[in-house]
Structure formats: C-alpha cells, structure tokens
Amino acid sequence: MTAMDIAIRISPDVIAPPAPVASAQTGAVATFLGTIRASENGESIRGLSYEAYQPMAESVMRDILTALAAPHPCQSVLVQHRTGPVLVGETAIYIEVHAAHRAEAFALLAGFMDRLKQDVPIWKTDVIA
C-alpha cells in the first residue's frame, strides 16, 4: 500500500476548488463543503470569523488523517480551511478524498469531520452581524 497523499491549506483565501480530477486508479471521490448559513443559534448573521492555531491545526489534521487511513485506506486527501471572516454562502471548509472504493472515501470523510470538531485547534470566534 502506498502512503496517502495529504494536502492541507489553512488560509484566509476564498475556497473555490476546481472540479475533482480522478486518476486512473481512483474509483471514488467524495467531497464535503461546510458553508456558512444565514442563521446561527437562531440569530440572523452575515458571516462568521475563524481563528486557527495554524501549525498545530495542520499537524493535528495530518495525525487524524493518517490514523483514519489505516482502517480506511484512501489515495489522497485535500483539506482547505478558511481563517478570518467568511460570509454567508461561502465555504469555510473543503475536503476532497480520492479512493479506490466509495466505502473508504465516505468513512475517511465523515470520520475526519467528527475528529476535526473535537481536536483541531480552529475556532469560530466572532459572528459578523
């Protein structure tokens, strides 16, 4: 088994990923976009602001992905997470997983999001009203 290719980008840049391009070995590509909704805890908002402890966030993401890849071997994963203000409708997080088969891609994707929300040092710090 070759190691999974991991790419992580934590930055204030707008997330606008191109359509995934599958390799000849890829059978399944699963993506997830977490986008900002117009209401947060029942209140109407214009956006949210994110803060990251960037080097640690990257290294924890990498640890989580590597741990998940053992039971759910995938070919590659790209994670992009924004920092700073993110407006309603924009993408705060984008994940793209390539695998031979869909079960592994889904498991890695869902497992990563669960762990992200427990252990990756990124915070919603402010509501943009």
């Binding site: 977490g34 994110y50 803060e51 990251a52 402890y53 080097p55 640690m56 966030a57 290294s59 997470h81 705060a92 997080i93 999001m113 992200l116 929300k117 427990q118 252990d119 990756v120 040092p121 990124i122 915070w123 919603k124 710090t125």
Partner: protein, 79 residues
C-alpha cells in the same frame, strides 16, 4: 516558555501571547497555577480548555520546559 492564547482565552487574557520565564520544567498544573495567577479570569476556561505543548495536546504528566511553545486551547469549533 511562550504561551499562546486563542479564541476566548485570548479575550480573557487580553493578549495573544506572553513569555514566562522559568528556570526549570513545569508540570501542567504548575503552569496553570502561574497563568491563573497572572489572569484570574482564565479560571472559568480551565475546566473546558486543553493545554498544548509544542503543538501537541499535553497529558497530565507532560513537563513543560523552558523554550517550549505552550498554547491554551479552548473548545474548538472549526468546520
């Protein structure tokens, strides 16, 4: 050692970073005692916050050495 404050911890401490002089390693409890001494309002965050040392979550028995980078990690909310 350098202490980094994030999110609510940054607001409560009123700063993003500070330096703590130490001649010898500190336990996690000793470091928290020092931080609470400087910023008593951090007490409200202690139960829910974790401490990272050199970008890894500290364990109960982690020793923090002079020169280490420490961070106060309130409950995360990314994604």
């Amino acid at each position: 050692m350098t202490v980094l404050y994030f999110a609510q911890a940054r607001r409560v401490a009123g700063r993003a970073e500070e330096t703590i002089a130490a001649d010898a390693p500190l336990t996690v409890d000793q470091l928290w005692a020092e931080l609470l001494n400087r910023h008593p309002d951090l007490a409200a965050l202690r139960a829910t916050s974790r401490l990272a040392c050199n970008q890894q979550f500290a364990q109960t028995d982690t020793l923090i050495h002079p020169g280490d980078e420490v961070a106060i990690i309130p409950p995360v909310s990314g994604g």
